[in-house]
Structure formats: structure tokens, C-alpha cells
Amino acid sequence: MNVQSETVTRPKEDVANQPPRLSFINRGNTSSIIIAVFVLVFAVGVPMLSPYYVAAAGKMVAYAIVAMGASIIIQHANLPSIGHGAFFGIAAYSVGLFMLRGSLPVIPALLLTLVVTAVAALLIGVVALRTRAAYFMMITLAVGQLLTSIASSLTEITGGDNGLSGIPLAEIGPFELVDPTHFFAVGMIILIAVMIGMAIFLYSPFGYALRSLRHDDRRARSLGVKPLRVRLIAFVISAIVTGLGGSLYTLHVGFADPSLLSANASGAIFLMVVLASRFGIFGPIIGAFVIEFISLIIGGYTTYSQLILGIVALLAALFWMESENKTTSSRRAPMFRKRERVKHVKQ
């Protein structure tokens, strides 16, 4: 053995054995802070644009909320769900039906909608969460698409393929959700609340428990984490946030149809999360903005928005996305632990 390796000394406090700092502002969250600043600039800047862009931006913000919800399962629990469109659609239909058929005011209708979404997530989760990885992906995709066909076949309740229209105009406090600027404001307030909530949630003990399950159940179990329970709770929370975005979107457009639940919609939500997940916990916002920008703004100029989305996804899969086994080592590590620094003492 050479002398060099024996002279390597650790710094006085053993960094590796310290508990991780339970704070959001931490090393490795630079991109999250940049995104947060960007969202604030977006919130201030967009209302100065023309109404057409404000309307598009409102929808982008609604999808950002949806993507944040979906990211809890797809990004943080590492469970590839291509079925989150189902929760978007379930929330859209329930809020529409509560207001249209139940004649409820907005706030109770929204709260009941979130309860309905949570119950649906619980039922789907109990079955789907017994599986992992590819199996989970297949089941969520199948369940979402089957719910789509159910939504289009229950003509008396949902209006079938023609969709559910005539949802009453909604007002939350001084905001009328039909108006693009008001909708943008409401969406922005909720998005910022969701962002703050996510930062707290993911750095809570539960958030750590959830991420401890990313790769190996056994290790997490040995620390007292109950895998199914933790995943189920995360699945329900994820569905509730997704449903919140979905119901807001529906109240704005006043319309819900089966395509909201479809595999295409779920695939787009999946794309929003995985395309930008390397930007950290707020990455899905960027993903949602980009994907919705493609389908709203570019889709407004050409009829090929699906094709463009496909090409973007193809290029992203080939050149942009990182493989999971690469990311476990260094890039996302600061969420869990600080890198050990080894000092070389020269003689």
C-alpha cells in the first residue's frame, strides 16, 4: 500500500452520518429556485400580453397543477403512471355534474369533487399499487382508457361522446373563472400554493419515506416504512392535486368530454412530468408549459400538433432524457445526502 492513501483524512464532522438538512433551500435545488423565479415572472408578465395568450397561459397553468400532482407518483415514487388523465377526467366530470345536476355552489362542488377523486384513486390504487414498473404502467394505462370508454357509453349521465356541456359559470370570490385573466389569476394562486405545498411535503418525513421506496422496498421496510400504505397515500394525494387542476380547467372551459381521460391525455401528462423531471421538484411545471404551449399555440397555427408532440417526445427520449440508473448516483443525490468530501493532505 502506498503512503498517500493512509494520509487521507476526513473533515472533523462526519458529513455522511449527519441527518440530511430538512430544508428546501439546499444544495441541488438551484433549478427549483430558478423555476420558482420564472413562475413569478410569468405570473406578473403574462397579464400584460394580449387576451389570446392570457387564455392559453391560464390553461398552461392548470396543466402545470396537474403535472405537479402527477409528479408525486411518476417522479418521486418512481411509479410510471400513464393513467393520470383518469383523475383529471373524473374530477372534470364530477365538478360538472355537481354544479349542473346538483346545482351546488362552486366551493362545495370543488370539495366534493376532490373527495370523489380521492375515493377513485384509493380504489384504483389498491389494485394497481400491488404491482411495479412496467406492470404498473400497463394497468394504469388500461384503467384510464377503460374509464374513457365507460364515460362515453354512459350517455344519460355524462352526455356520451358529445361531452358534458352547459356547466354553470363559476365564481370564486371576486374571480369569474370564465374570464381568461381571472382564471389565470386563480390558477396562478393555486399553482404557487401547490408549489409551496410540494416543497414542504417532499421534505417532510413522509416525503423522505416516499423517496426511500424509489428503488428498494426491503431497505425502506427495514427503516419502518410501510411500502403499500405510503404509496397509497401518495397516490391519493397525487390524484387530488391532479383533480384540482382538472376541475379548475373544466370550470374555465365549461365542458368535459371523454377524451380528457383517454390514453392520449394521460400520455401527455406523463410526458410533462418525465420530460422535465431532471429540473427537480418544479420541473413538471416547465414540462406542462412546454407541452401545452405546443398543443395550444403551435396547434393554433397548424393541424399537426399531435405530430409535433410526437416528434418532441421522440427527440426527448433519444437525446434529452436521462436513464434512471445514471441519476441515482450524483445528480439528484443532494436531496438525500451531501457528497462526502475527502481532503487530500499533502506532505
Binding site: 410510471p80 412496467a134 400497463m138 394497468i139 388500461a142 377503460l146 410526437g310 416528434i311 427520449a317 434512471e324
Partner: protein
């Protein structure tokens, strides 16, 4: 009684097409560990390619040949792209789903939004009397062809060296490589076979069920349901599940159109609640 016999045969012919789709998914899943989300697009593409060629040349066989050629080309392309993407599930999903978007949009532009049917070749037109009912020959031929395909696949998997290699690669890729077999070639062969079977599903199925926008997702999802129900990587399980899904969906649709899809949903949830690894799946 006769009505139900007809529905039973309708169900079986639907099962036949579903089997062609699902068996490819199962093989690709088992050997390559890839969820091929563009598998349903294979149905659509196969149907449209065959339709174009048949309309041009009036020859059903040329249509089949063209569909096989395009199927092999598409399979090679996607296989090459999958090699670049590697083993990450999310990247594979994004890559294959990208093709769903691309194929759906391009074929919508080229073939429109209506339901197109492949003209049935003259020697398969008409119907035969069978057990007191009159039933279309083409649907019977579908059941027959797929039964032969299923039997052939079963025999290849069990009795031939190629089948043994496929099983070896599915079980342990490194070990198979260690025995001097290149797993890449076996994976490529399986992938081509799977995609071509999906294309054949489109060629055979479009004569009855038609090719229309949304058929890709519909058949993908039914295929996924069958793979999940049958058990991951189980060829016999896929056959069993394909028959079950085809019969259940057709028979319940005969009772009431709106409960058709719900019944598959209920079937899926019930089976998974009691057997999370599928009917014939092995516990990993």
C-alpha cells in the same frame, strides 16, 4: 339460442385478433423487457398499408406481403432506437408513445377520420350454414388462421431450438450470452415477429372491425389488459386471457352496449385483486 351461438362465434373471432395483438406484446415484454406502447399502432398501420395496396392492385396476398414488409421495416427502426434508449422504462415509454402520436396524426391526415374496411377476398366471401345458423366464412377463417398461428407459436416455443433460445433470453439474458448466443439477434427476431403479428392483426381484423382513428389505442389497451390478465410473459396465459376478454366484451355488448367496456374493467380489477400476477403469471 342461435343468437347466442352467433355472438359466441363473434366473440371468438374478436379474441383471434386480440390474440395476434397481445402475443406480440407478451413476447416483446418477456424477451426485451420493453412495454411496446406503439403495438396498437401496428394494427392501424398494418390495416392502412394493406388497404392501400389492395385498392391499388386488387390482390389480397400482395396486401399481406406489403404489410409484412412495412412491419419488418418499422420493427427494425424502433428496435434500433430502443437500443439507444437503453433499459430505462420511462424513456422506452416516451419513445414508443411518441410513435403512437406520430402514426395516429399522419394516418388521420392520409386516411381521414372514417372507418375503413379492407375488402374481403372473393374466396372468403359469403357465409356457411353451421349448427343451424348462417355465419360469414371470413370470420371463421380468422378463427382458423389464428388457431393455427397459436398452435405454431406454442410448438415453436416448446419444441424448437429457437423457442428454447427465446425462453433462455427471457429468463436470463447474461447466461444466454454466456452460452455463445447473441441475445441481441434473438431480441430483434422476437421484436420483428411481435410487430409483424400486430400488423397481421390489422390486416385480418380490418375486414371486420375496420381501421379508424382510435383503433390503435383501443387495441393497445385490450392487448395490455390481456397481457396483465394472462400473466407477464406467459404465452398460454395470453391465449386464455385473449379468449376471455374477446368473449366477455362481445357477449356483454350483446346484452347492453354500455356495459361492454365496463365488464372488461370489472374482469381486470377482479382478477388482479385475487391474482396480482395474472392468471398464469409466475411470481417474480
Amino acid at each position: 339460442m342461435n343468437y347466442w351461438l352467433t355472438q359466441l362465434l363473434n366473440g371468438l373471432s374478436f379474441s383471434a385478433i386480440l390474440y395476434l395483438i397481445a402475443i406480440g406484446l407478451t413476447l416483446i415484454m418477456g424477451v426485451m423487457r420493453v412495454v411496446n406502447l406503439m403495438h396498437g399502432s401496428g394494427y392501424l398501420l398494418g390495416a392502412y398499408v394493406a388497404l392501400t395496396v389492395i385498392n391499388k392492385t386488387d390482390s389480397f396476398l400482395l396486401g399481406i406481403a406489403a404489410a409484412i414488409l412495412v412491419g419488418v421495416a418499422v420493427a427494425c427502426l424502433i428496435f434500433a432506437l430502443l437500443q439507444r434508449v437503453g433499459t430505462d422504462l420511462n424513456r422506452q415509454a416516451v419513445l414508443t408513445f411518441a410513435f403512437v402520436f406520430i402514426i395516429a396524426d399522419v394516418s388521420l391526415k392520409l386516411f381521414g377520420g372514417g372507418t375503413l374496411q379492407i375488402p374481403i377476398p372473393s374466396f372468403l366471401q359469403g357465409s356457411v350454414h353451421l349448427l343451424g345458423i348462417s355465419y360469414p366464412v371470413y370470420r371463421l377463417a380468422m378463427i382458423g388462421i389464428v388457431a393455427i398461428v397459436a398452435f405454431a407459436l406454442f410448438m415453436i416455443e416448446r419444441k424448437t431450438l429457437w423457442g428454447a433460445l427465446v425462453r433462455a433470453v427471457a429468463d436470463n439474458r447474461q447466461m444466454a450470452a454466456g452460452l455463445g448466443r447473441n441475445p441481441m439477434f434473438i431480441a430483434l427476431g422476437t421484436f420483428i415477429l411481435g410487430i409483424v403479428l400486430a400488423f397481421m392483426g390489422g390486416v385480418l381484423g380490418a375486414g371486420v372491425f375496420g381501421a379508424f382513428p382510435g383503433a390503435d389505442i383501443q387495441f393497445l389497451v385490450l392487448g395490455l389488459v390481456i397481457v396483465v390478465l394472462g400473466g407477464m410473459g406467459s404465452i398460454n396465459g395470453s391465449l386464455l386471457a385473449a379468449v376471455a376478454v374477446g368473449l366477455v366484451s362481445t357477449l356483454t355488448k350483446a346484452i347492453g352496449p354500455s356495459i361492454g367496456d365496463m365488464s372488461i374493467f370489472v374482469l381486470l380489477i377482479t382478477v388482479l385483486a385475487f391474482r396480482p400476477h395474472g392468471l398464469l403469471g409466475r411470481v417474480a
